[in-house]
């Protein structure tokens, strides 16, 4: 470790108290000494009288001169100031002195112990003094790009989709503290920039454009098929989320009815609806129908009878559900039988599957959802009579008479639709006659068949109405209300071809929101009952918006029409005549208003020339009217959407940059968009895509420049220390606790200018700890601290020897500590649970490995208490650490032990010398010697023992766990497992229990010290300095005072001056802060 005491570190400068802003700063002790004062201090004098002579006598022989040992030149330290600025060297000196490692045994001169103690005490005191003087220094926190993990989390929060573009980025290096969230290690290169750029453009390909702006899909959306998929799935998803199960409404009604007995006296119907998660609106409708006694005839009477028969409380939920389902089934069964049939329109040579006719049918069916088929009912006691062929005018007249007098007569045939008689006949039907309208009779149905069908219905008591006119009227009214409240379907989410036999078509599922056409692109919205009966106004608006965005984004009207033009010439032969030659599907102008109009006229004319009846003609006219209107609407909306989408672009930039934009920035973004349109000739959507890509490649997004002022301000103030702006603070908080961008609430506080207030800051930190996004913190903080962050890709296990180690188990192993830690933080449990907690979290694969009985699934994580019975509990026996620190076919006590002291306890262990022979990879090949015996070398050879004695034995204590962390009694080499160990200081222990006891007695402080130091380094995004010592003390004090709740340290950190301020950058100086190890207590055991 080279040190150059002549460098003036940047932290030594002069500040004056008057430049410190007033609000909430604890920097009272922030003055840093001028160079000249130090020499006269107590430390200065002692340095000259005690320390320097000591060093010159006992150290400099090796640690001085031209080639100092281990690169440590102690002779260069001639002043106290030099010691302070090169303190990392002196920290090492202290450690070596206290560990009795220096001077080495072979040295000729050895200082008397008392002198060593004095020197050590001096170093210690100097440090403490320095710590006091410089406490609160924010330290050099460099601006930096987002780490890969932060990039992914931010993209997820920004777009709403977990796109994970950083999967393709090169792995980020860590800083000295072991974290990758610091400018000390994060750099930018052309390769990485290109990947950022590619990622940004890929994300832009995920854009979906809506009438209001844009959103991101989970996959690129570039083709019509992509857009169709995105919106149909969204709409169908919306439908499926709605409460449309009648049984639920009956159950809720029951609950309301018996609310007194159920202890829900004060509940209103709306409250019950909220409790049971059904629509309040529809519940009110259903409840009224059940209880208001109006139209008490026919189906309503029957329903109400069943309702009244429902047993009151107490009722177990299963039984209640069952009886509610029975009511629901009664309704749906009956309702099915009341659906009016809609016959196909037929008008050869128009193909039956033509959009003109099929969409007409769709519209009829949609209109019928809350109507009932009066023809399905029969009058009690009346016998049907049949009359055939009401084709001529006289027959029509006869039929009319029959219908008036004998309500059950069935008449078939096809009278000329336009005669007055036919119209009169239709009128008669509407007022209760029994004529099957000509348009409804499909070709070939004879009166006999109809009669037979009708006779079947006549056996159905539910479809009977009384003969007496007044009673019959009441019954019909009941049917009407019944059908109105209970639609035959709340919505149609998919449809096969509607003009063909329904039974045959049933197997053609998956045609979401289809209009029921053959081969053509075609969608049809049929959800009025859901909309009118169930949805709240907000939900109605959302559904409308979804359909509007669908038609808008995927140009549905245009594509349906081009489909139409193609089809009418192929499967249909209608448009093969030369007069239609001008209309080609490839031709963009085929959807121009004038071309639609001309086609409409030609189409209609041909239909009329072929004797199409008036219904068909009207259907044709209506079809083309709608096409023209829908096409025009989409075009208008597209034009109107452009400015809205540009506003959305600005909003997006603001969120991406995590701060408000200046006017210049806004203008710049719009200018870029215009350039894309004009200079690069892009259309609106592509220009927006490039604009989004530019935003996501901008350093404003991918870098953490915690600017003093918001953009547009002047130069930074000349103060050395200044508070972070609220926006900078918001980002610092969110990247600390969520590794992601600030959310709306944080930004709202930043906008209000109160985020820096201690009360607000602490409250926000507490809120953020409880948020699900804390899982990100667990992954990044714990994952890096305990060095398992990349375990999801761990391939060191021999899957031949360990077939149970599959990807699911690997993933489960990785998750276990994260789940544990997140739970610990959010529940406020003491941090010592990490070491001693007798519980852990498992899912199916992990439970299997651990031998924990019970039913588990891969996706659900369950807390298991008394985990000690299975050899688990806390971090230490977690399979992930045992596996990560094993070379695949055997355990490695050395690696495990090293991980334990180095990662977990923060002890500094130097790297091994270069020429150490390695142990065999496979336990089987160790032969006669056990692993333990092979490691005896480490203890015998003093060169090895110096370091290895500090950690090997901890790994030996873990020998009861095999290469994938499984509990074992015998190793692969056939030896019985021996997990006894002699820990540093001569303490004996065995297995995990022994290890825990040892920690509790001797190293718990070290663990806490290390945890605090790691947390602080992570939270500040830099390696620690002496000036952080007091903050660490404070964090640990608050921790102890608050039941060792992890959150206490977080809050202390967040309220510290280090976190809330930054150093301003007057002059360029050396960038890297030299790492100073935090004072880890009790790691030095003699």
């Amino acid at each position: 470790m080279q040190s150059s005491p002549k460098d003036l570190p940047t932290r030594r400068g002069i500040i004056t108290a008057s430049l410190l802003p007033a609000a909430g700063m604890l920097l009272a002790a922030m003055s840093v000494h001028a160079a000249s004062a130090a020499a006269d201090t107590v430390h200065g004098r002692r340095f000259q009288t005690l320390v320097r002579p000591f060093v010159e006598t006992y150290c400099v022989k090796c640690h001085g001169g031209e080639d100092p040992e281990a690169g440590l030149d102690l002779s260069a330290y001639t002043t106290v100031d030099s010691v302070v600025s090169g303190f990392s060297d002196w920290d090492l000196v202290l450690e070596k002195l206290q560990g009795a490692e220096m001077p080495p045994l072979k040295a000729k001169k050895h200082p008397p112990p008392a002198l060593e103690l004095e020197v050590a005490a001096w170093i210690d005191a100097l440090r403490r003094d320095e710590a006091g003087k410089t406490a609160g220094d924010p330290g050099p926190v460099q601006a930096r790009r987002l780490s890969n993990a932060e990039f992914d989390y931010t993209v997820h929060d920004l777009t709403g989709v977990d796109l994970r573009p950083a999967r393709e980025f090169p792995v980020d290096p860590a800083n000295q503290a072991g974290f990758d969230n610091s400018g000390e290690s994060l750099t930018m290169s052309p390769v990485l920039l290109r990947k950022h750029l590619d990622a940004a453009r890929l994300m832009a390909d995920h854009l979906v454009f809506t009438t209001d702006g844009f959103e991101f899909a989970p996959y690129p959306v570039l083709t019509d098929t992509d857009r169709d998929k995105y919106f149909t799935l969204k709409i169908v998803d919306f439908y499926k989320r709605q409460p449309t199960d009648l049984a639920e409404y009956f159950a809720a009604s029951w609950e309301y009815r018996h609310r007194g007995a159920l202890g829900l006296d004060a509940a209103s119907l709306a409250d019950i609806a909220a409790r049971r998660r059904v629509s309040a609106r529809y519940l009110a409708t259903v409840y009224a129908l059940l209880t208001d006694g109006r139209d008490d005839a026919g189906p309503l009477a029957k329903l109400r009878a069943q309702w009244r028969a429902m047993r009151g409380p107490p009722q177990d939920p299963a039984a209640l559900h069952e009886s509610a389902v029975r009511l629901g089934d009664f309704v749906t069964d009956l309702r099915e039988r009341l659906v009016p049939a809609v016959a196909n329109l037929s008008a050869p040579p128009i193909h039956e599957g033509s959009q003109t006719l099929v969409l007409w049918k769709d519209r009829q069916m949609a209109a019928n959802r809350r109507r009932f088929d009066a023809d399905a009912l029969h009058v009690a006691g009346a016998a049907p009579r049949a009359v055939e062929s009401a084709a001529t005018a006289e027959q029509v007249a006869t039929a009319a008479q029959l219908a008036a007098n004998a309500p059950d007569a069935i008449v078939t045939g096809a009278p000329a639709a336009d005669t007055a008689a036919a119209r009169a006949l239709k009128e008669t039907i509407r007022s209760g006659g029994k004529f099957i309208a000509p348009a409804i009779v499909t070709a070939g149905t004879s009166a006999t068949t109809q009669l037979a069908a009708k006779q079947n219905r006549d056996d159905d008591p539910d479809l009977m109405v009384p003969a007496e006119p007044a009673a019959r009227a009441r019954a019909l009214a009941a049917f009407a209300r019944f059908a109105d409240v209970f639609p035959d379907a709340f919505y149609i989410s998919e449809r096969a071809r509607v003009y063909l036999d329904a039974a045959d078509e049933q197997k053609l599922s998956g045609r979401l929101l289809s209009a029921g056409l053959h081969s053509m692109t075609g969608y049809f919205r049929d959800d009025a009952p859901l909309y009118d009966l169930v949805l709240s106004p907000a939900d109605q608006r959302e559904l409308d918006r979804l359909w509007r965005d669908f038609y808008f984004s995927a140009a549905i009207p245009q594509r349906m029409h081009t489909s139409f033009v193609w089809w009418e010439r192929t499967d249909s032969t209608f448009m093969r005549d030369p007069q239609f030659a001008a209309f080609r599907p490839e031709d963009k102008s085929v959807t121009d208003q004038d071309k639609i109009g001309r086609l409409a006229a030609l189409y209609l004319a041909k239909a009329v020339a072929n004797q199409a009846n008036s219904t068909v003609q009207e259907a044709i006219r209506e079809h083309f009217r709608r096409v023209a209107a829908d096409v025009a609407l989409v075009e208008t909306e597209r034009a109107a959407a452009e400015p809205r989408q540009l506003q959305a672009l600005l909003g997006f930039a603001e969120r991406a940059y995590r701060r408000p934009l200046s006017a210049a920035e806004r203008a710049g973004l719009l200018d870029f968009y215009r350039q894309c349109r004009e200079k690069n000739g892009l259309d609106h959507e592509d220009a927006l895509r490039d604009s989004v890509a530019a935003i996501l490649t901008s350093p404003n997004f991918s870098y953490r420049f915690d600017l003093k002022e918001t953009a547009g301000g002047g130069k930074p103030q000349s103060a050395r220390i200044a508070p972070l702006t609220d926006y900078a603070l918001a980002s610092r908080l969110s990247y600390f606790l969520w590794s992601s961008m600030p959310d709306r609430e944080l930004l709202a506080h930043a906008a209000a200018g109160d985020l820096h207030r201690p009360g607000v800051l602490a409250a926000q930190a507490r809120r953020m700890l409880k948020d699900p996004r804390l899982a990100n913190f667990s992954a990044e903080f714990l994952g890096h601290w305990l060095d398992f962050r990349r375990f999801e890709e761990h391939n060191g296990v021999d899957r031949g020897r360990f077939p149970e180690f599959d990807n699911d188990l690997r993933e489960a192993m990785y998750q276990e500590p994260l789940r544990f830690f997140t739970d610990l933080v959010q529940s406020g449990a003491p941090v010592q649970n990490l070491l001693y907690g007798d519980y852990t979290f498992v899912n199916a694969p992990l439970a299997k490995l651990y031998g924990i009985p019970g039913r588990f699934s891969t996706d659900a994580w369950v807390r298991v208490d008394h985990a000690g019975e299975f050899g688990r509990g806390g971090l230490l026996p977690m399979a992930v650490f045992l596996t990560a620190n094993s070379p695949g076919l055997r355990t490695s006590p050395v690696k495990r032990g090293h991980w334990f002291v180095s990662n977990l306890l923060g002890q500094r262990i130097p790297a091994p010398p270069p020429n150490v022979p390695s142990l065999p990879a496979d336990e089987k090949s160790l032969g006669e010697l056990s692993l333990r015996q092979s490691l005896e070398q480490h203890r015998k050879d003093p060169q090895c023992a110096g370091c290895h004695s500090r950690f090997d034995t901890f790994g030996l204590a873990m020998e009861g766990y095999g290469a994938i962390g499984e509990v074992r009694n015998v190793d692969f080499g056939g030896h019985a497992v021996d997990s006894r160990a002699e820990f540093p200081g001569g303490v004996m222990g065995e297995g995990m229990a022994g290890l825990r006891d040892y920690i509790r007695a001797h190293r718990e402080r070290a663990f806490i010290d290390n945890l605090a130091a790691k947390l602080l380094a992570y939270g500040l995004g830099r390696t620690l300095l002496i000036s952080d010592d007091l903050l660490l003390d404070e964090m640990k004090a608050r921790l102890a005072a608050d039941h060792y709740r992890f959150g206490a340290m977080v809050e202390t950190l967040v309220l510290s001056p280090q976190f809330r301020n930054r150093r301003s950058q007057l002059q360029a100086g050396p960038l890297t802060a030299r790492y100073i190890s935090p004072h880890i207590g009790d790691n030095l055991v003699h």
Binding site: T225, D228, S514
Partner: protein, 444 residues
Amino acid sequence: MRPATHRSGHILSRRTVLRGAGVIMALPFFESLRVLAAGTTDASGHPKRLALVFMGCGINPNHWWARGAGADMEFSRTLAPLAPFRTKLNVINGLVNKPAVGVGIHPGQTGNILSGVPLAKGAVLRGGISMDQVLANTIGRDTLQPSLVLGCEQPVTGYHETNFSMAYSSYISWQSEDSPVPLEVYPSLAFDSLFENRGSRRLESILDRVRDDAASLESLLGADDQRKLEEYLASVRDVEKRVDRMRTDQAGAAGNAADRGRPLATMSRPDNGLPQDLREHMKLMSDIVAIAFQTDKTRVATLMFNRDLSGMFYPFLGVTKTHHSASHDDTSDDYEKIARYYVSNLAYLAARLDAMPEGEGSVLDNTCLLYFSNMWSGTSHDNTKLPIVTIGGLGGTLQTGRVLDYSAAGDGNRKLCSLHLSLMDRMGTTLPRFGDADTRLANL
């Protein structure tokens, strides 16, 4: 870390995000940028190109045959337009795309013809990546445009009676298992995508923009932070330089290629809109493929002369039925005329390529035009064997002048995907398996 949400294999396809015309160009491997720009060829010779030319609904089975070999090859009526290329072609019979047989007619027989993966019915599209897009992801990195996907008939996306989406009838190029490559039907836009350099202009604009962002940030930062920004700026400048160099390289390449194919090098930009006459439309699209190959703007092209379930009609042939309807009488004279018309278009494309000198031969000699249909017989929707012709020697790697018949070779030895694997090999991309095949086509 949250468990990864399901992603449909877009990692591969990222670099080939295409919009027929507005290609979002990914940066190629700089290291392997063709030295064509420098006017030399690399060690392996001239670039090889592959064009997949599709005609829907089968051919007239009575008139689709060839006999003999090489200069003595004889042709049926439908194949007669290819006679001038007899020594450069192979007529291949008897191959089958098994995952498309017996699943349902039309879309189920078409969508996977280049992927060999069973197609999913119903709500969500799913198949497999097509072989031209596999090539686009690999060798496509060396050209301005990874691949070109053109068609003469617009796609339709309703549902067929077999409950397969009509998207499978409309698209044979799939960039991933669930997303087709957009088809460009407008000649002018296809032309622009190749020659207007829009792709690199867009990249440069974005890079300019972020450089400006960084510049405005700079004045707001302190010295240390500026240093980090400088690192960013240096990276931006580096990437910009490469984009610029790539553009000049490509311009150079175009110039060089133009020199070599002197008489046919230039093609003026087609008019906007659609040609009224189908004949002109098809010729224009063929011209664009030819010139794209000649100028090495791309080496992989898919040209759908029409769609499956095609609605094309041919007044100039004196045929009144539309294509699909006519295919239902596939032994008729009308349908023979239609099939022959398509083959003559293929001949036109081959002639264009053959007239462009390259090395010792022509561009055609370094190309393979793979012509195929999704069925043998449109009347019976028989796709247990497919009509296939290859034209071009693919840089000497493909033996030509043969009539190959795999009908009797056994199902394991006559897979269409074996042909795809063999062609991909010759194009420089070796896969262990593709679609339903893990062996190459014997005797190819």
